[in-house]
């Protein structure tokens, strides 16, 4: 019981902070809009996939990108928490490290979901028509990305002691995960090397699942996409819990 109350406290803190940092919310909305309007609009003037416009095609990918960035950086911010004595206050609470990890993770997920929700509302402007089914599938997949990548960020952040590694994480984790996922291009007719890499990247399946639900013609059956997403999340949550147990204070 006390662990659950503690969990709520950790989540509540992240939620409050999110609501008060309005500049962060604004930035996280403008960024994907630039992708959709400038990049999607520009390239979309030359390319379309059958009935589907390019903006609509990359829409799930852009949602993934936003969620990915928000979640990983949310997780990495624990480096800052650790440098301030603020986090020690949490670590001396009579709560298990698992609770602290899950509380943080749920806080990050909430942030990411709220941002994604705003983007979802803008979908119709980019040629997306929702059905209750497609909306449900979309939200579930966003939840998987948020939970998985927040855990990934927390795992990395809990083992780092400074911001020095942040640039490397952007170059070697976030951008490859995004660009090698089929977020911006279809998965058929790829060169062999790219074909193989996209099939290894778990986010490929998540984007495919979202796109399949929104626009049809998925590359994989839904159960494959969902299965990969579930494994992806479970592995990263496990990694995060272990990393938090080992984290030095």
């Amino acid at each position: 019981m006390s662990e659950l109350v503690g969990l709520y406290a950790l989540w509540y803190r992240e939620f409050k902070v999110f609501l008060r940092e309005k500049s962060r919310i604004l930035a996280s909305i403008v960024n994907p809009l630039i992708w959709l309007v400038a990049y999607g609009g520009g390239l979309g003037a030359a390319i379309s996939f059958g009935e589907v416009g390019y903006q609509a095609f990359i829409f799930p990918g852009v949602i993934m990108l936003t969620t990915l960035f928000t979640s990983i950086f949310f997780g990495l911010y624990i480096v800052l928490d650790k440098r301030l004595d603020f986090f020690k206050e949490v670590l001396i609470a009579p709560l298990s490290r698992m609770t602290i990890f899950v509380g943080k993770m749920l806080g990050g997920c909430t942030d990411a979901m709220l941002q994604a929700l705003i983007l979802i509302c803008l979908g119709p402007f980019f040629g997306i028509n929702y059905t209750p089914y497609s909306l449900g599938v979309l939200v579930i997949f966003i939840l998987f990305i948020a939970a998985g990548t927040t855990s990934l960020g927390l795992t990395i952040g809990s083992q780092l002691n400074s911001f020095e590694g942040f640039g490397l994480i952007q170059s070697f984790v976030i951008l490859p995960l995004f660009f090698l996922s089929g977020a911006l291009y279809p998965l058929n007719n790829l060169p062999d090397w790219l074909f193989i890499i996209t099939r290894i990247n778990p986010l490929t399946y998540i984007v495919d699942g979202m796109r399949g639900a929104l626009l049809g013609n998925p590359a994989f059956p839904l159960y494959v996409d969902l299965g990969v997403a579930v494994v992806f999340v479970l592995v990263l949550i496990a990694a995060g819990s272990i990393a938090f147990k080992k984290m030095k204070s």
């Binding site: 440098r83 301030l84 206050e89």
Partner: protein, 326 residues
Amino acid sequence: MIGEAPLMIIKVEKLTKKYKDLTAVDHVDLTIEEGEIFGLLGPNGAGKTTLLNMLATLIPPTEGVAYVNGYDTMKDPANVRKSIGMVFQAPSSDDILTGYENLYLHSLMFGVPKEQRKKRIAEVLKLVELEDRANQRVKTYSGGMRRRLELARGLLHKPKILLLDEPTLGLDPQTRGHIWEYIEKLAREERVTVIITTHYMEEAETLCDRVAIIDHGRIIALDSPENLKMKLGKSMIRAKIKDPKLDLIKGLNYVTKVEEKDGEVMIMLNDGGSHIQEILCNLGEASFVELREPTLNDVFLQLTGKEIREESAEGEIERYARANGR
């Protein structure tokens, strides 16, 4: 019960923390009674904070054991954490949240029962006189207010032991005096045992019932501030003398110790100032004389041959940057 020995709320045996090539805390033995205000006094880097963090279960010891409120810090950290409240060196309240919200979150994390939360928060806010500012963001607080909020937070879950890591570091003298008043009030009204680390002599002298002087991870002296000073003598004379004739002075029966360093003579007396005339007559031509009671700094100087350095400017800037780095 009558005749029972006072409860040892903290018991530390051979507690040691080693880092690669540094022994931060070196086989420390220590017992602290319930209700004491106990000071750990020493220069920066002496191992005070490391010792405190081991008591708080934040870092595991390399060797030795520590019992806090009867619980082993390694085997039963959850119960240790329920017994302690801690105020850290650097600001640890969330400045995006209000004072009230900080306290509310703490009450949730530390398992304050639901029906008591509001009442406890109101009580501790009153104790540190922050009722008026409770609903403003911590960002708008002064350093002293923030410290007071953190003191209040440390007490929220009614801990038996309060650990304070340099509670007045970086505060101006006036605010420092206020914080001391609060700590004394808390110890009295909430009947908590307070363990405080400091490198301010004055803080240890004013606040503490007993003081352990720490240097290089070891306790080199432990007693009440009065007794520590008494060991040097009741008073001391510091003088600049051209050709000091020390042999004669050393023979006087009320002189406990004579030292000469860099052209200065230090004479410890187990008596008040009544003999100063006799000493000066025998000492030689003086260009400067000071008669005073010994301080803990003199005690430290005697024990280690060096002064407890006041905080360096660099440390202060670093602390400031850390506190504002978010």
